[in-house]
Symmetry: D2
Subunit: 346 residues, 4 copies
């Protein structure tokens, strides 16, 4: 089958052929709960850029070459002998992290922290291909009206944003204020999720005018230019008290420190992005501020998100590329030319 494989890292992203399109053997059922999925769409993610740069090298247990693509949806092609609830032909989203279902974390319902999590498209062959192998646990059936192509970005960008937004909604009072730092793919999903889950006022912050426009189009109450004293602006907008919750989708440069500085006493900073370093004097924590890391979402949250997506409550904008043009899509993502999420279709 056709697949796009990574062969070597390109730290500066100066190349033009980041991955090679080639013919590879089709994946086969190897374990009883394996499921082969015919890919209908595979989202391209900033993490793919990081993988290509070699930033995740240490975490990888397989050596290149392998097939990238961790944000997939498609149709069940074939099921293993132990698969009980899925049949060929059904449309499904593919959760990127393969969880075991049996460890302490999985049994508690926090399978995004599974003790033996393996990432499809990062630690084993992914979905920039015609077929991808997953496990029954990681497949979520799609509702009528949501095609695999449209559903793909929910499997990672959507789920990560939803997970953080749900945590935000749990801590922001209905008359409180939530700040979204970074209105990109995740931020724009988080705004919609938070809007559905809470009547709290939303303040969106971004240094890009395009992103701020997107926030305004989504009906965000207050949109702030991130390069123009955002900490002061948030304090002004909250009568000097600060925000109840901040979702940091940037997490680089000055942003982590700004995020914590924007909080009211007892407020919560949800760190979703990664890259930078957070530095905070412990004396500043005497106001009971909370800093909480985030990774993906649970499979139970994916059930909720897919249901909300099917009803149109949360809509992710996509830009379709044929799989043949994947290197072009990667260059466009690198150069910030993608609007919404690039989705590759084999």
């Amino acid at each position: 089958m056709k697949a796009a494989r990574l062969y070597e890292y390109d730290p500066d992203l100066k190349g033009t052929e980041f991955v090679r399109l080639e013919d590879v053997p089709e994946p086969r059922i190897e374990e009883p709960d394996d499921v082969i999925v015919r890919v209908g769409g595979a989202g391209l993610c900033r993490t793919d850029i990081h993988v290509i740069q070699g930033l995740w090298d240490e975490a990888l247990v397989v050596e290149p070459p392998y097939v990238l693509g961790h944000e997939n949806a498609g149709w069940v092609e074939e099921v293993g002998s132990g698969v009980r609830h899925l049949s060929p032909g059904e449309a499904v989203a593919v959760l990127p992290g393969l969880s075991c279902g049996l460890c302490r974390a999985c049994r508690r319902g926090v399978d995004n922290l599974c003790e033996t999590l393996v990432w499809i498209g990062i630690q084993k062959d992914g979905g920039f291909a015609e077929l991808v192998r997953a496990r029954e646990r990681n497949l979520i059936r799609l509702p009528n009206g949501l095609t695999p192509r449209d559903a793909a970005p929910y499997a990672d960008a959507g789920l990560t944003a939803y997970h953080a937004a749900k945590r935000a909604a749990a801590v922001v009072p209905p008359d409180g204020t939530a700040v979204i730092l970074g209105v990109g793919g995740l931020g724009h999903a988080a705004i919609q999720a938070l809007r559905a889950l809470s009547p709290a006022r939303i303040v969106a912050v971004d240094i890009s005018e395009v992103a701020r426009q997107l926030a305004e189009d989504l009906g965000v109450e207050e949109v702030v230019d991130g390069s123009d004293s955002p900490v002061e602006r948030v304090h002004d907008l909250t009568q000097g008290k600060g925000a109840d919750v901040v979702l940091d989708f940037v997490a680089e440069g000055d942003v982590p420190a700004q995020a914590v500085a924007m909080l009211r006493p007892g407020g919560t900073c949800l760190v979703v992005g990664y890259g930078g370093t957070l530095e905070v004097p412990t004396m500043d924590l005497l106001t009971e501020k909370r800093i909480i890391g985030n990774i993906g979402g649970t499979s139970a949250e994916m059930l909720e998100l897919i249901a909300l997506a099917g009803r149109g409550t949360i809509r992710l904008e996509i830009q379709e590329f044929p799989l043949d043009r994947i290197n072009e899509a990667i260059a466009d993502l690198r150069d910030l030319r993608i609007r919404g999420r690039a989705v590759l279709v084999p």
Copy 2:
């Protein structure tokens, strides 16, 4: 192999051969996640009495004859091709409810409410036998020093009590009062679990002097005779305010109404037993009382409980019977001659 099978219901328990000991074919691996367990101990439960009486007839999907026994522990004998984490020879407790791991409830970590739960020993062959078939999801590895014989009662009585005690500990303030109604097998486990999880004062209520003695032996602060105005006694002991939480292990006769009447405003009644009817004027709920049903426990809670059992924090008293004498054990349970939990050993 040797097994004790139920052939027909005995509503009045007047017989002497409740189950028939006979030779039956050994269970075999049928699905990839099946595990055959060599039984080391199988607890005898009041629910077995109810099953023999035919009270669960409606809920049963298999017809007699079948093997009773839902509270089992033993050693892994053989594993299916999809079993990843267990090997022959390992000592395990067997959770009685077979959960799917994939429904909404299982994914959320509340697998005691699995949408397709099937009970071993009630809806399919159980552990009053030399071997029993379970699934990988339902097996919890035992720590060193805890034998299957001793571990068996934790699989149902212990887990149910622990589940309720954990909920109680979550709602009773550290300076509050918890009432245990019924100090039998479950009640005496719940006292120990609650003591481990909360410094709240415990009041134990029972109409039996033996049970009250057991409560005193466990160091319970206040022991009350259930036939002597227990509602008034609880109000007296709490300066007229009432209890923060009541765990009702009886749930028959006047007890459910007493349980609710003992509560302070905002207090919680955890109904664990079953049989009687609860009748409460809605006006009495204007004080924000809470009435909450309970069934078994989650597999994550079983991990916790088994760890606490291994450390000796919670100890269940057992009385061993060889499997050959099962009908005698059933008669003893019927006639209240069992101290602690009867455990059958093949």
Copy 3:
């Protein structure tokens, strides 16, 4: 000043002069935290009907005659020497339950369960008058644009509905189903509050066509006739699983039993209305159903609700009556001729 006082109970509500309009002495500051409020509006509540019937006789600590009216808003007229945060002229809503601020419940933030709660308009003189005496703790400042006349119904109907809706939102998953039983004054507020707090699907049930029309006008997804097998309808609408949460604003006749029967395993019934009796076999609780009483709301919730009301998120419909026509308003309420909430204006 002018005030409407209750002199004697009228169990069958056959009279025409339920309360007497007369001249009474103005209330004065008696304790340092007392505040005299000039009434701008006082809502008429079904509980007033119950008080007039004598149903609350046992709970009353004052003897008639006294001034009814527990749902008030107005302007600060005079403050005691210990009042720190309010000044004459400020517009305020008056929480009906006078809480102490110092007991265990108040310190925990659940001041609707204050150990020494006293109800204005039920246990002491209320707001069907020109002036009413309250305490600083019980006054919530109104935002610009929300007049006391419009704000009055939030003090009891709005707050009670909001309190229950907030609890419902905490237990219904975003892709779940909430059922509202009774779309009257509270129910129609609860629908709006729940809509703001959760994207869960709402099913509204009422036996009155007018009420069902109101639910439809509010955009409720599914509206069910309460006299046409509502339990079956809810199960049909949820693929046989049942509702995640039911808010019972009726709590009379068959409704409490229907409410519990509608629940899925693990589901929650919030009992808000009162009058009838709940009867449930404890065996039916083995699915971990939860039955939870409700009374009013906390003062912290009132802060939230008033903020949402100021932003127009939750709108209560009112029908204004001059205080002189209070007996006419009471008759209209008795005869179900009020649309929304009747508010008396002195």
Copy 4:
């Protein structure tokens, strides 16, 4: 009356007369909810050392001279006209932070985050004196058998430790592991509180042998030398998984980074001490670690703690000094010669 007043800061603590013992006017009732307390004991705290050094200069709104002492207990001497629940002669603990009872935080039950909190003994005259002025809200009645002298350290050290321990107990599973960094006054109270609230295994870490001995005397399961690779030790003790919760009572030097590094995925670091700086790469938060600040405790928690102290569940060791020898006590604290808590008795 006799009082110990601070006149000027001593950054290096080289003096011998840190505060001056002198005769000052007695405090009088000024507001209706004021209460004058005759001091029975006043704890000496490391924060007093910091205040003397001038570290809190910015936060102070009063200028020296003023009376230090924020950890007080005594007997009600006189009450204002608005005090409803206390009478002269009653023994009380004095919460150090004067909260308003009316702001959003107070109404929610988190009065340790009161929007207008004022600290007795730091921002206004404290308890190193014969009398101190407090407010009714801040006084917690003592149970029989707990004298003001013994109760004083619970008002700050005890409460702060209890608050953190209660949060820890809420996140550590019963079969999990909690780490206490620093077994001083707070740490040794936290060990006892955590032991009462959870059966989780406790690991205590300190660089001082005396402190480690104290941890062992308290029955801590694992005691680790903080200067000997504590991060590795914690990982070894948890099969490489890390701790579920870490309570950092040190928060200086390398300790904050060690605290975060010790956590398992999803684990929680409660920062209680202050002084140092926390620096963490946002990529390290991808495992959903949580860092949470702490300040004091709520007044509801103080009710719980005092009840547990009265029952002997949590015991704080004290070393009594007459108020006349306060400068000697301060020098002893500076030079680490105090065992447990120094309490000044007028």
